[in-house]
Symmetry: C2
């Protein structure tokens, strides 16, 4: 099955990516803007989150309420998010409503009002979001893990700080917008029942007049993982939250598929090692997983487990043991399962317009091109045990940062 993938860079630098999925009736779209938490001024951490919330509160000729109503009238299931590096604005709607929805987002991106009278409510929400985290230990431990492992600004929690949010003025939000919202910082991806020529013309009409500026630089910071580190956060909880992280390869690295396959052996499905060895065999913890995450210049392997305090030490030891013994060998059968799992999720993901939009954006952002499903399938087919073992020997669990949150520290 041939994929219908299109890319176009507008003369002002804005990128448009699209995939036609002729058998669906919906269309998903996503604007990614390089203006995330890493670009917050150090005394105003949380500013980009305030912007993300305020930017939807009125744009073009519509005030806050009218703008929200207009999107809802089109049945747009919308979402906004603040990331470490990028902000995301997007939604899913019926393909027939795509053009009017993009028209509203053209206003949102180019002509937002940032109403001062709504700033206080937005600040209150942002502060609540930070306070909520105290009641969500599983999220909290991951936030603390990244803070302790990545150098600033990569390790920041995009929620910011209460102090930073409180001092921010509407002028700060407007300055952050003026500095980072311009076409060369924006990738728009669309997937669904689209007509490429019409979409391209629409986007040129709606965004072609946006003034060009130099793209925002990627925040340079030293590579991590040179030294092991352990941080315990004391809290009276019923579960001990355990998280760890160590260096792997970035997405653009030729070893990328090998890194993912190695994580797959540990944690892909219910036959994977962590689930089987730590959860099923010993009933040590309810939840345990490993995952891979990447920035443009680096990648990492993360692992998480939540366990009763009296079993936390054994849970940690067994999890670490599974990570460390990976270079010792992988069964051919395990690899086959990982291949099937990776391919099945790839093909099933293809059926959702929202997932396709994420893939288009992510490929373009990290690799500068869009991989076809056939290319990814072929790379998965070519995986073999010896190449994966070579990779895990080259990138063993070293320089591990461990963070625990709970009633007692562990021996690490």
């Amino acid at each position: 099955m041939q994929q219908l993938i299109y890319t176009h860079i507008l003369p002002n630098g804005m990128t448009l990516l699209a995939e036609r999925l002729p058998h669906v009736r919906s269309a998903a779209f996503s604007f990614m803007v390089r203006a995330g938490g890493a670009y917050d001024p150090v005394d105003k951490l949380g500013l980009s989150g305030l912007l993300t919330d305020l930017i939807t509160r009125g744009a073009g000729e519509l005030d806050s309420r009218q703008f929200s109503d207009a999107l809802d009238n089109l049945g747009v299931d919308r979402s906004e998010s603040t990331g470490g590096i990028n902000l995301h604005f997007g939604g899913v709607t019926l393909a027939t409503n795509l053009t009017p929805a993009l028209k509203l987002y053209a206003d949102l991106l180019q002509r937002p009002h940032f109403p001062e009278e709504e700033l206080e409510a937005v600040q209150a929400l942002a502060i609540q979001d930070i306070q909520n985290l105290e009641d969500e230990p599983q999220s909290k431990v991951m936030v603390e893990l990244r803070k302790n492992y990545y150098p600033d600004p990569l390790g920041r929690d995009q929620r910011g700080t209460e102090a930073g949010i409180e001092v921010a003025k509407i002028e700060d939000v407007r300055q952050h917008y003026a500095k980072h919202f311009h076409p060369s910082n924006v990738i728009l991806a669309v997937a669904g029942d689209i007509n490429w020529d019409m979409l391209r013309k629409d986007v040129e009409t709606l965004f072609g007049g946006w003034k060009e500026q130099t793209p925002t630089a990627y925040p340079i910071s030293p590579l991590t993982g040179l030294e092991a580190k352990y941080v315990h956060l004391q809290k009276d909880l019923d579960q001990t939250q355990i998280a760890l992280i160590y260096p792997s390869v970035p997405l653009v690295h030729p070893d990328n598929y090998l890194a993912r396959a190695a994580v797959g052996v540990l944690s892909l499905d219910m036959s994977s090692r962590l689930f089987m060895e730590v959860r099923e065999k010993y009933g040590l913890c309810y939840s345990v997983y490993a995952s891979y995450e990447a920035f443009q210049d680096r990648g990492s392997i993360l692992a998480y487990a939540g366990s009763r305090p009296e079993k936390a030490q054994e849970t940690f030891d067994r999890t670490l043991h599974e990570l460390k013994r990976l270079p010792e060998g992988i069964e051919e059968e395990e690899l086959q399962r990982v291949k099937v799992g990776l391919k099945a999720s790839l093909i099933m993901r293809q059926e959702s317009t929202g997932a396709r939009v994420s893939s288009l954006t992510s490929d373009w952002y990290y690799l500068g091109r869009i991989r076809t499903l056939a290319e990814i399938q072929q790379a998965i087919d070519e995986l073999n045990v010896s190449a994966i073992l070579d990779h895990v020997k080259r990138f063993p669990p070293k320089g591990i940062t461990v963070v625990t949150l709970g009633p007692q520290p562990l021996k690490v």
Copy 2:
């Protein structure tokens, strides 16, 4: 677009439902078995959850590990869940792997091993799941809300109790299985790129020999919501969790669409009243919503808000105010947005095989037939303000049960 929907009841009483979605490559399947938490013996609460976990640990000729591997080899993205009334076992896979996957589930449902040596680990996991709840205040308050509102056994938390889980023996699991796992208690739904004649033949071959028994009765208990009730649970949290519930109509009731539309006015998208009035206008809370839930014999309206303790009283008051003022009037424009929102989500849901399987099962279970999308769209089109207002006047927020979890009680 005509829908290709099929239903068939096997001579032994098992129900098969299917929908052909010719443009996808995946197939989703779900077995619903009437054997949930409401059927646990009172001194062994949590038994059905133990069964749900143990039943995947070996069946037919495969032991625990082999069974798990066999599913993973087919790329089945599987899930099991224990509900109040029903258990669910299902997954999504490539349509080409559907038959071998159903073959494995035929073993799981009819020939499970329930290995005694794995019971202890399963009990440990179940107890951790209960203990986890203490660190998840938002889930905890909803569990306590249902416990306080619905009469036993409907109000039970399907997680059970530590005492109930600890005393359960493998014989109890086997007895629960023998009592409830028979064809007339089972609905199998499949959606995807299927061939109905082949599927039906496969299912008859795989499940036709399963011995018929009388279906398990629905657990009768008195109707709820006659008296208002307030319960506060003291806990040192950074957020006060607020939940409330009151009676509405069951799914089979002719007012069902009216009840959903009324909840839609309150809480469907970002223009809805609760989000606008409680969250956006005053920044009182980060999360606030209302929803509708139904059992076979009753329905309820629920509302939730999580707020900083010092703003909890105002959050509660404003939320309640929005519920109470609904009968006073609904703007035509609000209804139009609800109609667009309900229809858009309906059409977009249609694109996921997993969502279609849930709809097939739910329609059959609650209504005894399967609604086409055209029928639901027509019912949504016919909604009008005066009918919704009549409905909310007949089913106002009365006999409300309120549960709060946090540092201080509210004035209710």
